[in-house]
Amino acid sequence: MARLGVGLTYVRGLERLLEECGDRLDVIEVEPQTFWRSRPDGTVATDHEALRRLADLPGARLLHGVGNPVGGSVLPDAEHTALVGELAEQLAVPWVSEHLAFNRVGDAGGGGTGFRTGFMLPPRQTPAGVRRSVRSVRAMAEALPVPLAVELGTNYLRPRADELSDGAFAARVAEGADCGLLLDLHNVLANERNGRGSVDALLAELPLDRVLEVHLAGGFEHRGYWLDAHSGLPDEDLIRLAGRVLPRLPALRAVLFEVTASAAPGLEAGAVRELTDRLRELWPAAAVAAPAPLRRPDPAVPGAGPEEWEAALGGLAVGREPRTVLERELAADPAVGLLRELILEFRAGALAGTLVHTVRLLLLTLGEAGVRELIAEYARRRTPELFATEEAFAFAEHLRRCRPAVPLLPDVLELDLGLMLVRLDGEPRTVTVGTDPTVLLTELGAGRLPVDPPRGSYRLRLVDDRAEAGRPALSSS
Protein backbone atom coordinates (compact mmCIF):
# COMPACT_ATOMS: atom_id res chain seq x y z
CA MET A 1 0.00 0.00 0.00
CA ALA A 2 1.55 3.32 -1.04
CA ARG A 3 2.08 6.25 1.29
CA LEU A 4 -0.71 8.80 0.82
CA GLY A 5 0.93 11.62 2.75
CA VAL A 6 -0.26 14.48 4.95
CA GLY A 7 -3.70 16.02 4.74
CA LEU A 8 -6.85 17.38 6.32
CA THR A 9 -10.17 15.88 7.36
CA TYR A 10 -12.90 17.56 5.34
CA VAL A 11 -16.05 18.92 6.92
CA ARG A 12 -18.46 21.46 5.49
CA GLY A 13 -17.19 24.92 6.32
CA LEU A 14 -13.53 24.08 5.61
CA GLU A 15 -13.72 25.03 1.92
CA ARG A 16 -11.65 28.20 2.33
CA LEU A 17 -8.84 26.36 4.10
CA LEU A 18 -8.85 23.58 1.54
CA GLU A 19 -8.62 26.07 -1.26
CA GLU A 20 -5.84 28.10 0.34
CA CYS A 21 -3.83 25.08 1.48
CA GLY A 22 -4.58 22.81 -1.47
CA ASP A 23 -0.99 22.71 -2.69
CA ARG A 24 0.12 21.30 0.70
CA LEU A 25 -2.51 18.55 0.99
CA ASP A 26 -1.70 15.04 -0.24
CA VAL A 27 -4.89 13.51 1.08
CA ILE A 28 -8.38 14.65 2.10
CA GLU A 29 -10.29 12.50 4.54
CA VAL A 30 -14.06 12.48 4.20
CA GLU A 31 -16.53 11.67 6.96
CA PRO A 32 -19.22 9.84 4.97
CA GLN A 33 -22.07 10.39 7.43
CA THR A 34 -21.76 14.14 7.05
CA PHE A 35 -22.84 13.68 3.42
CA TRP A 36 -25.93 11.71 4.35
CA ARG A 37 -29.45 12.92 4.83
CA SER A 38 -32.24 11.10 6.64
CA ARG A 39 -35.17 11.60 4.28
CA PRO A 40 -38.77 11.95 5.40
CA ASP A 41 -39.53 8.42 4.14
CA GLY A 42 -36.95 6.99 6.54
CA THR A 43 -34.29 6.16 3.97
CA VAL A 44 -30.77 7.50 4.15
CA ALA A 45 -29.48 9.26 1.07
CA THR A 46 -26.05 10.46 0.02
CA ASP A 47 -25.64 14.02 -1.20
CA HIS A 48 -23.74 13.18 -4.37
CA GLU A 49 -23.53 16.77 -5.51
CA ALA A 50 -21.62 17.71 -2.37
CA LEU A 51 -19.41 14.70 -2.93
CA ARG A 52 -18.88 15.68 -6.55
CA ARG A 53 -17.54 19.02 -5.40
CA LEU A 54 -14.89 17.11 -3.45
CA ALA A 55 -13.59 15.79 -6.75
CA ASP A 56 -12.12 19.23 -7.41
CA LEU A 57 -10.03 19.06 -4.25
CA PRO A 58 -6.42 17.95 -4.42
CA GLY A 59 -4.89 14.65 -3.39
CA ALA A 60 -6.11 11.19 -2.55
CA ARG A 61 -9.22 10.37 -0.49
CA LEU A 62 -9.84 8.48 2.71
CA LEU A 63 -13.08 7.66 4.50
CA HIS A 64 -13.47 8.06 8.25
CA GLY A 65 -16.74 6.87 9.74
CA VAL A 66 -18.22 8.98 12.52
CA GLY A 67 -21.62 7.44 13.19
CA ASN A 68 -21.29 3.66 13.10
CA PRO A 69 -18.66 2.64 15.67
CA VAL A 70 -17.41 -0.90 16.18
CA GLY A 71 -16.59 -1.09 19.87
CA GLY A 72 -19.86 -2.26 21.34
CA SER A 73 -22.14 -5.25 21.60
CA VAL A 74 -24.64 -3.80 19.10
CA LEU A 75 -23.38 -4.65 15.64
CA PRO A 76 -22.74 -1.73 13.29
CA ASP A 77 -25.67 -0.74 11.10
CA ALA A 78 -25.44 -2.94 7.99
CA GLU A 79 -27.14 -0.41 5.68
CA HIS A 80 -24.80 2.36 6.75
CA THR A 81 -21.82 0.06 6.30
CA ALA A 82 -23.04 -0.76 2.78
CA LEU A 83 -23.29 2.96 1.98
CA VAL A 84 -19.73 3.48 3.19
CA GLY A 85 -18.63 0.52 1.08
CA GLU A 86 -20.22 2.03 -2.05
CA LEU A 87 -18.52 5.29 -1.34
CA ALA A 88 -15.19 3.54 -0.74
CA GLU A 89 -15.37 2.09 -4.24
CA GLN A 90 -16.52 5.35 -5.77
CA LEU A 91 -13.68 7.33 -4.19
CA ALA A 92 -11.14 4.51 -4.61
CA VAL A 93 -9.98 4.76 -1.02
CA PRO A 94 -7.32 2.25 0.11
CA TRP A 95 -8.93 1.73 3.53
CA VAL A 96 -11.79 2.93 5.75
CA SER A 97 -11.63 3.80 9.44
CA GLU A 98 -14.18 3.74 12.28
CA HIS A 99 -14.14 4.23 16.02
CA LEU A 100 -13.55 1.63 18.69
CA ALA A 101 -16.46 2.95 20.72
CA PHE A 102 -20.21 2.51 21.07
CA ASN A 103 -23.08 4.92 20.44
CA ARG A 104 -26.04 2.57 20.69
CA VAL A 105 -27.40 0.56 23.60
CA GLY A 106 -29.11 -2.68 22.73
CA ASP A 107 -32.68 -3.65 23.39
CA ALA A 108 -31.62 -6.17 26.02
CA GLY A 109 -34.68 -5.68 28.17
CA GLY A 110 -37.05 -5.96 25.20
CA GLY A 111 -39.91 -3.58 24.58
CA GLY A 112 -37.86 -1.04 22.68
CA THR A 113 -35.49 -0.19 25.48
CA GLY A 114 -32.56 0.35 23.12
CA PHE A 115 -31.39 3.89 22.46
CA ARG A 116 -28.71 6.01 20.89
CA THR A 117 -26.29 7.84 23.12
CA GLY A 118 -25.61 10.78 20.79
CA PHE A 119 -21.90 10.42 21.41
CA MET A 120 -19.05 7.94 21.09
CA LEU A 121 -18.63 6.26 24.47
CA PRO A 122 -15.80 3.99 25.65
CA PRO A 123 -16.44 0.26 25.40
CA ARG A 124 -16.19 -2.26 28.20
CA GLN A 125 -12.47 -3.06 28.24
CA THR A 126 -12.56 -6.67 29.34
CA PRO A 127 -11.95 -9.97 27.53
CA ALA A 128 -15.71 -10.19 26.95
CA GLY A 129 -15.65 -6.61 25.63
CA VAL A 130 -12.81 -7.58 23.30
CA ARG A 131 -14.94 -10.41 21.92
CA ARG A 132 -17.89 -8.09 21.29
CA SER A 133 -15.67 -5.54 19.58
CA VAL A 134 -13.96 -8.19 17.45
CA ARG A 135 -17.39 -9.38 16.33
CA SER A 136 -18.41 -5.82 15.40
CA VAL A 137 -15.14 -5.06 13.61
CA ARG A 138 -15.37 -8.29 11.64
CA ALA A 139 -18.99 -7.62 10.72
CA MET A 140 -18.03 -4.28 9.23
CA ALA A 141 -14.75 -5.42 7.69
CA GLU A 142 -16.42 -8.33 5.90
CA ALA A 143 -18.96 -5.96 4.33
CA LEU A 144 -16.37 -3.47 3.09
CA PRO A 145 -14.44 -3.73 -0.17
CA VAL A 146 -11.25 -2.36 1.47
CA PRO A 147 -9.45 -2.95 4.80
CA LEU A 148 -10.76 -1.41 8.01
CA ALA A 149 -8.72 0.48 10.62
CA VAL A 150 -10.16 1.18 14.07
CA GLU A 151 -9.50 4.34 16.07
CA LEU A 152 -8.65 4.39 19.76
CA GLY A 153 -10.97 6.94 21.26
CA THR A 154 -10.80 9.56 23.93
CA ASN A 155 -11.93 8.16 27.24
CA TYR A 156 -12.76 10.70 29.95
CA LEU A 157 -13.59 8.05 32.56
CA ARG A 158 -11.19 7.24 35.34
CA PRO A 159 -9.19 4.04 34.77
CA ARG A 160 -10.77 1.04 36.47
CA ALA A 161 -9.23 -1.90 38.28
CA ASP A 162 -11.59 -4.29 36.51
CA GLU A 163 -10.61 -3.39 32.95
CA LEU A 164 -7.79 -3.99 30.49
CA SER A 165 -5.51 -1.05 29.82
CA ASP A 166 -6.40 1.05 26.77
CA GLY A 167 -3.43 -0.33 24.85
CA ALA A 168 -4.07 -3.96 25.75
CA PHE A 169 -7.73 -3.65 24.79
CA ALA A 170 -7.02 -2.06 21.41
CA ALA A 171 -4.23 -4.55 20.70
CA ARG A 172 -6.44 -7.54 21.44
CA VAL A 173 -9.24 -6.18 19.24
CA ALA A 174 -6.92 -5.35 16.33
CA GLU A 175 -5.24 -8.73 16.48
CA GLY A 176 -8.46 -10.65 17.08
CA ALA A 177 -10.18 -9.00 14.13
CA ASP A 178 -6.98 -8.73 12.07
CA CYS A 179 -7.65 -5.08 11.28
CA GLY A 180 -5.60 -1.91 11.04
CA LEU A 181 -5.31 0.84 13.65
CA LEU A 182 -5.89 4.56 13.46
CA LEU A 183 -3.75 6.18 16.14
CA ASP A 184 -5.24 9.54 17.07
CA LEU A 185 -2.37 11.16 18.92
CA HIS A 186 -4.59 13.89 20.30
CA ASN A 187 -6.92 11.26 21.77
CA VAL A 188 -4.11 9.44 23.52
CA LEU A 189 -2.50 12.66 24.72
CA ALA A 190 -5.88 13.79 26.06
CA ASN A 191 -6.23 10.44 27.83
CA GLU A 192 -2.80 10.91 29.40
CA ARG A 193 -3.59 14.47 30.48
CA ASN A 194 -6.88 13.26 31.93
CA GLY A 195 -5.14 10.61 34.01
CA ARG A 196 -5.86 7.37 32.18
CA GLY A 197 -2.22 6.43 31.68
CA SER A 198 0.87 7.47 29.83
CA VAL A 199 1.12 7.56 26.06
CA ASP A 200 4.36 5.57 26.25
CA ALA A 201 2.69 2.78 28.22
CA LEU A 202 -0.08 2.68 25.64
CA LEU A 203 2.34 2.57 22.72
CA ALA A 204 4.30 -0.23 24.36
CA GLU A 205 1.21 -2.43 24.25
CA LEU A 206 0.01 -1.57 20.75
CA PRO A 207 0.95 -3.53 17.63
CA LEU A 208 2.48 -0.45 16.00
CA ASP A 209 2.91 -2.28 12.70
CA ARG A 210 -0.88 -2.16 12.31
CA VAL A 211 -1.11 1.64 12.45
CA LEU A 212 -2.11 2.84 8.97
CA GLU A 213 -3.17 6.32 9.89
CA VAL A 214 -2.47 9.02 12.47
CA HIS A 215 -4.72 11.91 13.47
CA LEU A 216 -3.75 15.17 15.15
CA ALA A 217 -6.00 17.90 16.47
CA GLY A 218 -6.23 20.74 18.92
CA GLY A 219 -8.17 20.83 22.15
CA PHE A 220 -8.70 22.86 25.28
CA GLU A 221 -9.27 22.43 28.99
CA HIS A 222 -12.79 22.37 30.33
CA ARG A 223 -13.96 21.41 33.82
CA GLY A 224 -10.49 20.05 34.54
CA TYR A 225 -10.47 17.79 31.47
CA TRP A 226 -8.48 18.14 28.29
CA LEU A 227 -11.15 17.94 25.59
CA ASP A 228 -10.69 16.32 22.22
CA ALA A 229 -12.38 19.37 20.79
CA HIS A 230 -10.74 19.63 17.35
CA SER A 231 -10.82 23.31 18.11
CA GLY A 232 -7.63 24.47 16.42
CA LEU A 233 -4.00 23.67 15.76
CA PRO A 234 -2.15 20.96 17.70
CA ASP A 235 -0.11 22.29 20.62
CA GLU A 236 3.65 21.89 20.85
CA ASP A 237 3.42 18.84 23.17
CA LEU A 238 1.42 17.06 20.51
CA ILE A 239 3.83 18.03 17.75
CA ARG A 240 6.72 16.70 19.84
CA LEU A 241 4.76 13.50 20.45
CA ALA A 242 4.23 13.15 16.70
CA GLY A 243 7.97 13.61 16.24
CA ARG A 244 8.63 10.70 18.59
CA VAL A 245 5.90 8.40 17.33
CA LEU A 246 5.75 8.79 13.54
CA PRO A 247 9.19 7.20 12.99
CA ARG A 248 8.01 4.14 14.95
CA LEU A 249 5.10 3.33 12.62
CA PRO A 250 6.33 1.19 9.71
CA ALA A 251 2.89 0.73 8.13
CA LEU A 252 1.87 4.38 8.42
CA ARG A 253 0.32 5.70 5.19
CA ALA A 254 -1.47 8.92 6.11
CA VAL A 255 -1.28 11.71 8.71
CA LEU A 256 -4.42 13.84 9.03
CA PHE A 257 -5.15 17.07 10.85
CA GLU A 258 -8.73 17.23 12.15
CA VAL A 259 -10.57 20.44 12.89
CA THR A 260 -14.25 21.22 13.32
CA ALA A 261 -16.03 23.56 10.94
CA SER A 262 -16.92 25.76 13.92
CA ALA A 263 -13.22 26.41 14.52
CA ALA A 264 -12.38 26.96 10.85
CA PRO A 265 -13.11 30.71 10.72
CA GLY A 266 -10.38 31.31 13.29
CA LEU A 267 -7.72 29.28 11.49
CA GLU A 268 -5.11 30.98 9.34
CA ALA A 269 -4.25 29.13 6.16
CA GLY A 270 -0.58 29.97 6.68
CA ALA A 271 -0.57 28.17 10.01
CA VAL A 272 -2.17 25.08 8.49
CA ARG A 273 0.39 25.08 5.68
CA GLU A 274 3.16 25.35 8.25
CA LEU A 275 1.66 22.45 10.20
CA THR A 276 1.53 20.15 7.18
CA ASP A 277 5.13 21.05 6.34
CA ARG A 278 6.27 20.25 9.89
CA LEU A 279 4.44 16.92 9.87
CA ARG A 280 6.17 15.95 6.63
CA GLU A 281 9.53 16.75 8.22
CA LEU A 282 8.67 14.66 11.28
CA TRP A 283 7.67 11.63 9.20
CA PRO A 284 10.79 9.93 7.91
CA ALA A 285 10.86 8.12 4.56
CA ALA A 286 11.58 4.84 6.32
CA ALA A 287 10.37 3.98 9.80
CA VAL A 288 12.22 1.77 12.21
CA ALA A 289 10.81 -1.72 12.68
CA ALA A 290 7.99 -1.72 15.18
CA PRO A 291 8.92 -3.38 18.46
CA ALA A 292 6.94 -6.38 19.56
CA PRO A 293 4.12 -5.17 21.80
CA LEU A 294 4.14 -6.00 25.47
CA ARG A 295 1.97 -8.98 26.27
CA ARG A 296 0.36 -9.31 29.63
CA PRO A 297 -1.97 -12.19 30.40
CA ASP A 298 -5.67 -11.41 30.42
CA PRO A 299 -6.65 -10.49 33.94
CA ALA A 300 -9.39 -12.41 35.62
CA VAL A 301 -12.04 -9.73 35.34
CA PRO A 302 -15.17 -10.10 37.35
CA GLY A 303 -17.97 -7.63 37.24
CA ALA A 304 -20.14 -6.16 34.56
CA GLY A 305 -20.47 -7.61 31.10
CA PRO A 306 -20.33 -5.41 27.99
CA GLU A 307 -24.10 -5.13 27.63
CA GLU A 308 -24.57 -4.08 31.25
CA TRP A 309 -21.71 -1.59 30.87
CA GLU A 310 -23.20 -0.05 27.74
CA ALA A 311 -26.67 0.24 29.27
CA ALA A 312 -25.24 1.80 32.44
CA LEU A 313 -22.82 4.26 30.86
CA GLY A 314 -25.15 5.05 27.97
CA GLY A 315 -28.07 5.69 30.29
CA LEU A 316 -26.07 7.94 32.59
CA ALA A 317 -24.58 9.84 29.64
CA VAL A 318 -28.02 10.70 28.29
CA GLY A 319 -29.07 11.97 31.69
CA ARG A 320 -30.77 9.05 33.43
CA GLU A 321 -30.51 8.62 37.15
CA PRO A 322 -28.36 5.77 38.49
CA ARG A 323 -30.27 2.74 39.74
CA THR A 324 -27.94 -0.27 39.66
CA VAL A 325 -24.70 -0.80 41.59
CA LEU A 326 -22.63 -0.25 38.44
CA GLU A 327 -24.57 2.89 37.56
CA ARG A 328 -24.06 4.34 41.02
CA GLU A 329 -20.38 3.51 40.83
CA LEU A 330 -20.03 5.11 37.39
CA ALA A 331 -22.08 8.13 38.42
CA ALA A 332 -19.43 8.93 41.04
CA ASP A 333 -16.95 9.50 38.20
CA PRO A 334 -16.97 13.25 37.41
CA ALA A 335 -16.50 12.36 33.74
CA VAL A 336 -20.17 11.38 33.62
CA GLY A 337 -21.13 14.99 34.25
CA LEU A 338 -18.80 16.07 31.49
CA LEU A 339 -20.27 13.53 29.05
CA ARG A 340 -23.76 14.75 29.88
CA GLU A 341 -22.74 18.31 29.16
CA LEU A 342 -21.01 17.43 25.88
CA ILE A 343 -23.98 15.39 24.67
CA LEU A 344 -26.46 18.12 25.61
CA GLU A 345 -24.34 20.73 23.83
CA PHE A 346 -24.16 18.47 20.82
CA ARG A 347 -27.93 18.10 20.73
CA ALA A 348 -28.45 21.82 21.20
CA GLY A 349 -26.07 22.38 18.29
CA ALA A 350 -28.06 20.03 16.09
CA LEU A 351 -31.21 22.05 16.84
CA ALA A 352 -29.51 25.40 16.25
CA GLY A 353 -28.30 24.11 12.88
CA THR A 354 -31.63 22.76 11.68
CA LEU A 355 -34.41 24.80 13.33
CA VAL A 356 -32.47 27.99 12.70
CA HIS A 357 -35.27 30.53 13.04
CA THR A 358 -37.05 28.67 15.81
CA VAL A 359 -33.94 28.62 17.99
CA ARG A 360 -33.35 32.32 17.32
CA LEU A 361 -36.93 33.17 18.24
CA LEU A 362 -36.60 31.14 21.44
CA LEU A 363 -33.29 32.86 22.26
CA LEU A 364 -34.72 36.31 21.64
CA THR A 365 -37.72 35.55 23.83
CA LEU A 366 -36.36 33.37 26.61
CA GLY A 367 -32.66 34.27 26.65
CA GLU A 368 -29.84 31.73 26.38
CA ALA A 369 -30.38 30.24 29.83
CA GLY A 370 -34.09 29.82 29.18
CA VAL A 371 -33.49 28.00 25.90
CA ARG A 372 -30.86 25.78 27.45
CA GLU A 373 -33.33 24.78 30.13
CA LEU A 374 -36.00 24.08 27.49
CA ILE A 375 -33.59 21.85 25.55
CA ALA A 376 -32.45 20.15 28.76
CA GLU A 377 -36.06 19.36 29.61
CA TYR A 378 -36.55 17.92 26.12
CA ALA A 379 -33.34 15.87 26.44
CA ARG A 380 -34.55 14.40 29.74
CA ARG A 381 -37.63 13.08 27.98
CA ARG A 382 -36.10 11.89 24.73
CA THR A 383 -32.86 10.04 23.93
CA PRO A 384 -30.61 11.38 21.14
CA GLU A 385 -31.09 10.78 17.43
CA LEU A 386 -28.36 10.04 14.90
CA PHE A 387 -29.27 12.74 12.40
CA ALA A 388 -29.66 16.40 13.25
CA THR A 389 -32.93 16.52 11.33
CA GLU A 390 -34.38 13.64 13.34
CA GLU A 391 -33.44 15.54 16.47
CA ALA A 392 -35.23 18.57 15.02
CA PHE A 393 -38.45 16.67 14.33
CA ALA A 394 -38.42 15.25 17.85
CA PHE A 395 -37.81 18.69 19.39
CA ALA A 396 -40.63 20.18 17.30
CA GLU A 397 -42.94 17.52 18.69
CA HIS A 398 -41.80 18.44 22.19
CA LEU A 399 -42.45 22.14 21.59
CA ARG A 400 -45.94 21.44 20.28
CA ARG A 401 -46.68 19.40 23.38
CA CYS A 402 -45.20 21.69 26.02
CA ARG A 403 -46.21 24.97 24.31
CA PRO A 404 -43.73 27.41 25.84
CA ALA A 405 -45.06 30.96 26.12
CA VAL A 406 -43.27 32.26 23.04
CA PRO A 407 -45.31 34.44 20.66
CA LEU A 408 -45.03 33.46 16.98
CA LEU A 409 -43.52 30.07 17.84
CA PRO A 410 -46.06 27.86 15.97
CA ASP A 411 -45.62 29.85 12.75
CA VAL A 412 -41.83 29.99 12.91
CA LEU A 413 -41.65 26.29 13.70
CA GLU A 414 -43.86 25.48 10.68
CA LEU A 415 -41.58 27.53 8.45
CA ASP A 416 -38.43 25.83 9.71
CA LEU A 417 -39.90 22.35 9.38
CA GLY A 418 -41.10 23.14 5.86
CA LEU A 419 -37.66 24.43 4.84
CA MET A 420 -36.00 21.40 6.35
CA LEU A 421 -38.27 18.95 4.53
CA VAL A 422 -37.58 20.64 1.20
CA ARG A 423 -33.84 20.53 1.86
CA LEU A 424 -34.06 16.84 2.65
CA ASP A 425 -35.82 15.52 -0.42
CA GLY A 426 -36.15 18.47 -2.81
CA GLU A 427 -39.94 18.14 -2.94
CA PRO A 428 -41.88 21.42 -2.68
CA ARG A 429 -43.97 22.02 0.44
CA THR A 430 -46.69 24.54 1.20
CA VAL A 431 -47.00 25.84 4.74
CA THR A 432 -49.88 27.93 6.04
CA VAL A 433 -49.11 30.42 8.78
CA GLY A 434 -50.90 33.24 10.53
CA THR A 435 -48.06 35.77 10.31
CA ASP A 436 -46.37 37.31 7.29
CA PRO A 437 -43.62 34.75 6.65
CA THR A 438 -41.36 37.18 4.82
CA VAL A 439 -41.28 39.46 7.85
CA LEU A 440 -40.60 36.51 10.17
CA LEU A 441 -37.73 35.17 8.07
CA THR A 442 -36.23 38.59 7.40
CA GLU A 443 -36.29 39.72 11.02
CA LEU A 444 -35.11 36.45 12.51
CA GLY A 445 -32.56 36.14 9.71
CA ALA A 446 -31.09 39.39 10.97
CA GLY A 447 -31.19 38.20 14.57
CA ARG A 448 -34.09 40.51 15.51
CA LEU A 449 -37.34 39.73 17.24
CA PRO A 450 -40.22 40.51 14.84
CA VAL A 451 -42.23 43.40 16.28
CA ASP A 452 -45.95 43.49 15.42
CA PRO A 453 -45.59 41.53 12.19
CA PRO A 454 -48.66 41.62 9.89
CA ARG A 455 -51.19 38.93 10.80
CA GLY A 456 -53.51 37.11 8.43
CA SER A 457 -53.63 33.90 6.45
CA TYR A 458 -50.47 33.26 4.46
CA ARG A 459 -49.67 30.36 2.23
CA LEU A 460 -45.99 29.97 1.50
CA ARG A 461 -44.84 27.56 -1.18
CA LEU A 462 -41.28 26.43 -0.45
CA VAL A 463 -39.32 25.17 -3.42
CA ASP A 464 -35.89 23.75 -4.01
CA ASP A 465 -34.05 25.88 -6.54
CA ARG A 466 -30.72 24.20 -5.99
CA ALA A 467 -31.21 22.32 -9.28
CA GLU A 468 -29.91 25.29 -11.24
CA ALA A 469 -26.88 25.57 -9.01
CA GLY A 470 -26.45 21.83 -8.74
CA ARG A 471 -29.22 20.39 -6.59
CA PRO A 472 -28.01 17.63 -4.29
CA ALA A 473 -28.46 14.41 -6.21
CA LEU A 474 -29.76 12.21 -3.44
CA SER A 475 -29.54 8.47 -3.80
CA SER A 476 -31.32 6.17 -1.40
CA SER A 477 -29.80 3.50 0.73
Binding site: T154, S262, L363, L386, R448
Partner: protein, 69 residues
Protein backbone atom coordinates in the same frame (compact mmCIF):
# COMPACT_ATOMS: atom_id res chain seq x y z
CA UNK B 1 -36.47 42.75 2.04
CA UNK B 2 -35.21 42.37 -1.49
CA UNK B 3 -37.84 41.95 -4.18
CA UNK B 4 -35.54 39.48 -5.88
CA UNK B 5 -35.72 36.99 -3.07
CA UNK B 6 -39.46 36.56 -2.76
CA UNK B 7 -41.94 36.38 -5.59
CA UNK B 8 -45.52 37.10 -4.56
CA UNK B 9 -47.94 34.86 -6.45
CA UNK B 10 -50.93 36.55 -4.79
CA UNK B 11 -51.35 39.01 -1.94
CA UNK B 12 -51.02 36.33 0.71
CA UNK B 13 -49.61 33.48 -1.35
CA UNK B 14 -45.89 33.53 -1.76
CA UNK B 15 -43.22 31.30 -3.21
CA UNK B 16 -39.87 31.12 -1.51
CA UNK B 17 -36.86 29.21 -2.75
CA UNK B 18 -34.28 27.60 -0.49
CA UNK B 19 -31.55 29.88 -1.76
CA UNK B 20 -33.72 32.95 -1.16
CA UNK B 21 -34.46 31.75 2.36
CA UNK B 22 -30.74 31.23 2.94
CA UNK B 23 -30.10 34.72 1.59
CA UNK B 24 -32.30 36.20 4.30
CA UNK B 25 -30.06 34.75 7.00
CA UNK B 26 -27.63 37.48 7.99
CA UNK B 27 -25.40 35.33 10.16
CA UNK B 28 -21.86 35.67 8.80
CA UNK B 29 -21.37 33.14 6.01
CA UNK B 30 -18.46 31.10 7.47
CA UNK B 31 -20.24 30.73 10.78
CA UNK B 32 -23.51 29.85 9.08
CA UNK B 33 -21.76 27.16 7.06
CA UNK B 34 -20.25 25.81 10.23
CA UNK B 35 -23.47 25.83 12.20
CA UNK B 36 -26.22 24.80 9.78
CA UNK B 37 -26.51 21.06 9.33
CA UNK B 38 -29.05 18.50 8.23
CA UNK B 39 -26.73 15.56 8.32
CA UNK B 40 -25.40 13.06 10.76
CA UNK B 41 -23.05 15.36 12.63
CA UNK B 42 -19.42 14.56 13.22
CA UNK B 43 -19.76 13.38 16.79
CA UNK B 44 -16.17 13.29 17.97
CA UNK B 45 -15.38 13.45 21.64
CA UNK B 46 -15.23 17.20 21.94
CA UNK B 47 -17.31 20.28 22.23
CA UNK B 48 -19.96 21.39 19.73
CA UNK B 49 -19.92 25.14 19.36
CA UNK B 50 -22.98 25.48 17.16
CA UNK B 51 -25.53 26.47 19.77
CA UNK B 52 -23.17 28.96 21.41
CA UNK B 53 -22.40 30.55 18.05
CA UNK B 54 -26.09 30.82 17.26
CA UNK B 55 -26.78 32.39 20.67
CA UNK B 56 -23.90 34.82 20.24
CA UNK B 57 -25.16 35.90 16.83
CA UNK B 58 -28.67 36.33 18.13
CA UNK B 59 -28.06 37.87 21.54
CA UNK B 60 -24.77 39.65 20.93
CA UNK B 61 -22.96 37.94 23.76
CA UNK B 62 -25.22 39.13 26.57
CA UNK B 63 -27.12 35.84 26.66
CA UNK B 64 -30.20 37.81 27.66
CA UNK B 65 -33.33 38.43 25.67
CA UNK B 66 -33.99 42.07 24.95
CA UNK B 67 -30.35 43.15 25.19
CA UNK B 68 -29.21 42.12 21.71
CA UNK B 69 -27.23 44.51 19.63
Amino acid sequence: MSSTTLVAAAPVETTLSLSAAAGLDRMAAPVRAAVNQDNCPSCHSGFDWSFGRSAEFTLGGSGLAGLAG
